[in-house]
Amino acid sequence: MNSAYIASVINSTLRSTTPILLAALGCAMCSRVGVFNVALEAQMLIACFTSIAVNYFTSNVLLSVLAGVLSGAVVGAVVAILQVKYKAADMVVGTALNLLVGAITTFLLYLVFGLRGKLVDNRLVSLGKINLPVIKDIPFLGRVLENLTIIDYLSYIIAIVLFVYLFKTVAGFRTLSVGINKSAAESLGTKATRIQMEMVTLSGALCGLGGVVLSMGQVTMFTENMTSGRGFIAMAASSLGMAHPLLVIASSLFFGLCQGIGLALQNVVKAQLTNTLPYIATIVALVIFSKRNSSAKLKK
């Protein structure tokens, strides 16, 4: 176990963290306004597909990222309309949307590209990789931060921005008040329903960005159901981080580490077994932190 190996595990941890972190931040914003959003998976998956599809036709990275974020926000808006405006049951909407987006992406993959399973193509452009000028020459740190994308860095900045917004601004206090007591917030003139819908849409956009990293970061391709439960892992991350943006960074890094270790172990143990690691780790983490977690636990 030499330092180069450790550095590469940390590197892959950072890469695996980003999608989970972004989705977990989205989930945290939803739980801060008292909405239980189960459709994170759908919001990510649609962005994976849209960004790759736009990428295929335009070969423009910026456009693909925007399209991905937008598509995530659209699914978020659907959740907002159904759950906040029409008060539909959260579990029903979430599960149905997760399945619906899975079907839509597979449907379009076949209809537009005539493909089943996955889309890989030479003309797909991946996100630009950043190698910071001085740091890349530092032995250990250089390897740790090697080939990260701009979104990998951006996700931490977003977390800090959300923290500042929630806990240091008036608008943030209003947002928090909606989650604590909606009718009290309304009686003070806060547009509670509107704030809730905005936050759910924002969570869609954040998940969308996470989806984009997934399909255009480490690999540049779309595979059916490629999010494979990350939306739910993000939900666990948000719950462990008590929906606090900075704590969510820590919990997301933990799940990223599990995926990183899982990938590293694949040379030793059969892939089918290492693949279970992030999922088992999620359950174990939820159990270990259950006591502390019980005050801010998910609604169900």
């Binding site: 029409y86 909407v93 949307l97 839509i104 597979t106 059969k270 693949n275 636990k297 169900k300």
Partner: protein, 366 residues
């Protein structure tokens, strides 16, 4: 005379209740099919023609009807499993994992346990049910002891079960006869298989098992104290506690039954149709998720779930028929069924939110 009047009143109430229960899913189904029609139009096809072919090749021709019923078998059982836990208020998304685990155990038992075939088959089914029940008890115990969200744990356990069974089928249990390329176990002995009910198709006695499970569900939900307690727990936990229901006991029994039922879905598939366990045969067909949607569309009513399951499986059979003939991807079926579920979810609100404004808006939206 008086008894007759009461009887009439009872019948009226039953019919009224039936009508109300049916209206939501029916309206939602129509809207779901309309969304499907829009998608078909967008594909440049005539929706009426496509739907005609779709329903002809799922319900109206005997061969396809048998395919529909065969496919419906695991879906019905999964819907019952989902209904069992959701009725009691336990949001169990792990029917797939419970089914997969139970089925693998049942298959292994059938393959390796010596003895008279029929007896071994019965033991195999029971072993599978036990394994499914244990797999469902795991998240329940975590929820009980550690207050861990069952939504997340049950879903995570799906992936764990799928990967681990995939490992077993790929390595230790793999059928090495023939070319040995397919990731599947050897076939189970002929004497253990469920009999076919039709000479021309794969329709088999698994469907009878499914009907028995439905009957069991109807019985347990309408005729037993346990069914009442379980439902009360989901309907109003504090009332249930007040009434003296032992919640933990009810939860554990409910979830164990859920897992046991879920395993039967996969066992019916192995013993009735495939005669072996093949990698991802239960997950790629998304039986559990279709069952979940059937349960939601039918509002968790056992008889309703039975018919909705058959309808959804018909959509899927019809969907694969039109994919072959018209080139419209078969996911059209999933899209339609998800839209139906979403419309049902919005409809449910309208009944509960009594504000006139909400009714008007909801009506427009739906």
């Amino acid at each position: 005379m008086k008894t007759k009047e009461t009887q009439d009143a009872v019948w009226k109430a039953v019919i009224l209740r039936g009508r109300q229960a049916l209206r939501q899913p029916l309206v939602a189904t129509i809207f779901g099919l309309l969304v499907g029609a829009a998608v078909i139009l967008a594909c440049g096809q005539n929706p009426i023609e496509v739907y005609k072919e779709m329903f002809e090749k799922s319900f109206f021709k005997p061969y396809y009807l048998f395919s529909t019923l065969t496919r419906a078998t695991p879906i019905i059982i999964c819907a019952m499993a989902t209904g069992m836990s959701w009725r009691a208020g336990y949001i169990n998304l792990g029917v797939e994992g419970q089914m997969v685990t139970g089925t693998l155990v049942a298959t292994v038992t059938a393959l390796f346990l010596p003895g008279p075939p029929v007896l071994v088959a019965i033991i195999a089914w029971l072993a599978g049910m036990a394994a499914g029940a244990l797999y469902a008890l795991l998240p329940s115990v975590l929820a009980w002891k550690f207050n861990v969200s069952m939504v997340i744990t049950t879903l995570m356990l799906n992936y764990v079960a799928n990967y681990i069974t995939s490992y077993f089928v790929t390595y230790p249990l793999k059928d090495t006869s023939g070319d040995g390329l397919a990731l599947q176990t050897p076939e189970i002995a002929a004497g253990m298989r469920l009999p076919r009910l039709s000479s021309t198709s794969t329709f088999n006695a698994g469907f009878i098992v499914a009907i028995l499970v439905v009957v069991f569900m109807v019985f347990i939900t309408r005729r037993t104290v346990f069914g009442y307690e379980s439902k009360m727990g989901g309907f109003n936990p504090s009332f249930a506690r007040y009434g003296g229901t032992k919640q933990v006991k009810v939860m554990l029994i409910t979830m164990a039954l859920t897992g046991a039922i879920a395993s039967m879905a996969g066992s019916a598939e192995v013993f009735g149709l495939k005669y072996r366990y093949a990698d991802s045969m239960l997950s790629s067909t998304s039986y559990a998720w279709t069952g979940l949607q059937a349960a939601l569309i039918a509002g968790l009513d056992p008889v309703g779930m039975f018919f909705v399951s058959i309808f959804l499986s018909g959509l899927q059979i019809g969907g694969s028929a039109i994919q072959r003939s018209l080139g419209i991807p078969l996911e059209i079926a999933t899209i339609i069924q998800c839209c139906i579920t979403l419309f049902v979810s919005v409809k449910v609100v309208i009944r509960f939110v009594k504000k006139p404004k909400a009714v008007k808006e909801g009506g427009k939206q739906a």
